[in-house]
């Protein structure tokens, strides 16, 4: 599999009244064709900002992508003209947002909104576009799609609306689908429906997916690789099974320990991570997790650890090996 997307040293800041917020601090990752990459982290860790920066969806001002590259098929998305990037967004890379309620235009029909990318990117006429939309809505499991073309977003339920959003993202058969917490606003039974749908469509169309979530449960059954973010950094990345079997960063370890599990009998006290997530007003010159870390050593306060290889294909940004408790 060849590398489809390569993000290198991405940095994004926001100017606010309190100062400059360092939301993303040098994030690098790659995405291969047909691969599903999960990005996990808590609110404010920079996971959404990373992909928004990549697609140039950060409003500027106050935001600014100050460094880095995002190579898509060899071309840097960050250096493209507005026209060029517009041709890529929605046709080759498309996005599904968290809140299916606020991401549709309430005064346009579903048919109109889902067919828009086809008319803009592929130059289809209304009739051709409608046929393609019906085909796509069928694929995502909307009953009687032809009758529903003239319905408005409020006439759909939350789960159905998220299906329509996925259909809209997929009409131009993109190479990359970015899903930003697509199931967070949904109930578990509906979430299971959407995850099943994403898997089926991925296998049908063979596209790559970046799935952003805070839920280590949902992503476990879906992703090939996982990148864990904290305080604007990727702090661990590995094939999905490695992350769960051998978490190599204390934060990942803490997150897994703080989750109660459905398949667990008996009562175990949850391992909580003390303290609070960092305020990103200063770019720290020490490890951003150090103030909450159980394994902290002197070096953590002096140098911010880079991503280091812990085993082939598995990297973690920590001076300490949490399995032994000793410095690497």
């Amino acid at each position: 599999m060849s590398e489809l997307l390569s993000v290198q040293g991405l940095e994004t800041q926001f100017r606010t009244r309190e100062g400059i917020v360092h939301a993303v601090n040098g994030v690098s990752f790659g995405l291969k064709e047909g691969e599903t990459l999960g990005i996990v982290g808590e609110s404010g860790c920079g996971k959404s900002v990373t992909v928004m920066s990549m697609l140039r969806l950060i409003p500027s001002p106050p935001g600014k992508v100050s460094a880095g590259k995002a190579l898509f098929q060899g071309k840097d998305l960050l250096k493209m003209s507005d026209d060029e990037i517009r041709h890529i967004r929605g046709s080759q890379i498309s996005m599904v947002f968290q809140d299916p309620m606020t991401s549709f235009n309430p005064v346009l029909t579903i048919g109109r909104q889902v067919s828009e990318p086809l008319e803009v990117h592929l130059g289809m006429n209304r009739k051709q576009a409608d046929d393609r939309v019906v085909e796509m809505l069928t694929k995502v499991g909307i009953p009687n799609p032809r009758d529903r073309l003239n319905d408005y977003p409020h006439q759909f339920s939350g789960g159905m609306r998220q299906r329509v959003m996925i259909a809209m993202a997929l009409v131009c058969t993109p190479q990359i689908l970015i899903a930003d917490e697509p199931t967070t606003a949904l109930d578990v039974t509906i979430q299971a429906q959407i995850v099943e749908l994403a898997k089926r469509i991925r296998d049908d169309l063979g596209m790559a997916i970046i799935w952003i979530t805070h839920d280590l449960g949902v992503i476990a059954g879906l992703a090939d690789r996982l990148a864990v973010m904290y305080g604007g950094y990727i702090i661990e990345t590995a094939p999905i099974r490695d992350v769960y079997a051998h978490p190599s960063h204390p934060y990942t370890l803490g997150l897994l320990g703080s989750l109660p599990r459905m398949d667990e009998s008996g009562q175990r006290r949850l391992v909580s991570i003390d303290g609070l997530p960092p305020v990103l007003l200063e770019k720290p010159n020490f490890c951003p997790f150090a103030p909450r870390c159980k394994y902290v050593v002197e070096r953590c306060w002096k140098e911010n650890p880079p991503l280091m290889q812990v085993s082939p294909d598995h990297t973690a940004a920590c001076w300490v090996n949490p399995e032994t408790g000793r410095e690497r």
Binding site: D215, G221, P260, I273
Partner: protein, 326 residues
Amino acid sequence: MAANEVLLNVVDLVKHFPIMKGVLIQKQVGAVHAVDGVSFDIVKGETLGLVGESGCGKSTTGRAILQLHRPTSGSVFYEGKDLVKLKGESLRKTRRRMQMIFQDPYASLNPRMTVGQIITEPMLIHDMTTQKDTQGHAERLLKLVGLNPAYTSRYPHEFSGGQRQRIGIARALALEPALIVCDEPISALDVSIQAQVVNLLEDLQAKLGLTYLFIAHDLSMVRHISDRVAVMYLGIIVELTTRDELYSHALHPYTQALLSAVPIPDPAIEANRKRIILTGDVPSPVNPPSGCRFRTRCPIAAEICKQIKPEFREVSPGHWVACHMV
């Protein structure tokens, strides 16, 4: 559990919200059947989990128990007294023993009051303290929930979500309640903070002998914290039993589907899991389906489910279920 003494007994609780139409003369044209005949007991010292999807009536049940929504019919017996019949002063006095922790730690604290005022206001209302003693009480309560006692004169906006939830818990504890209704107390918090709050709730229960009604949609967290679990669907309880029984031998098809939909944070297990995927959405509570309410999405629904409402019956000791097919 203290000798299985029943603390709260809910009998056939119903709460309908009227739907009005008309500009000058309002007429009732229908009702949202939010809670439609719910019965259960809560034993002293236990945690009863109440789970279900959004809109199933679990929060309304919690509020109707505390009489924050006056029930349409039914009874709520607390230590033998029917709260539904109580009014004014006598209701207020009984309610002191029942407190609530809310979901949204941002909306449930008054931004213009200091933390000390927020925590001690209920004590002043119930004449449990005097103005000059409030400082001491506030400090004691903050310490109890793991916050720095020096924070009494700060305002809510100076705290993070998890800390605010601790303030909400301190306020609930101020009146020394026996029962606390926790209405999705952790849903708005980040994963690493959720564990902190849940651990605190467990510690307080052990220390103060509290009884919890824990309302949530996160089935893994409910499994973690509850002794018994009730599953709600569209205004009724479909299954009620002990935690271990529910998670190992769920009988109702809805419970089974709900449990199978919950992801397990382990890729090796997830790869081989079979899911029961329910089709469609929850029907509208304005016009719930006839017979069994789950029949429109049920994989094993039969003719009888359309016509007759299944009775909520005890199929084995302590295991209640409402389904014709069990």
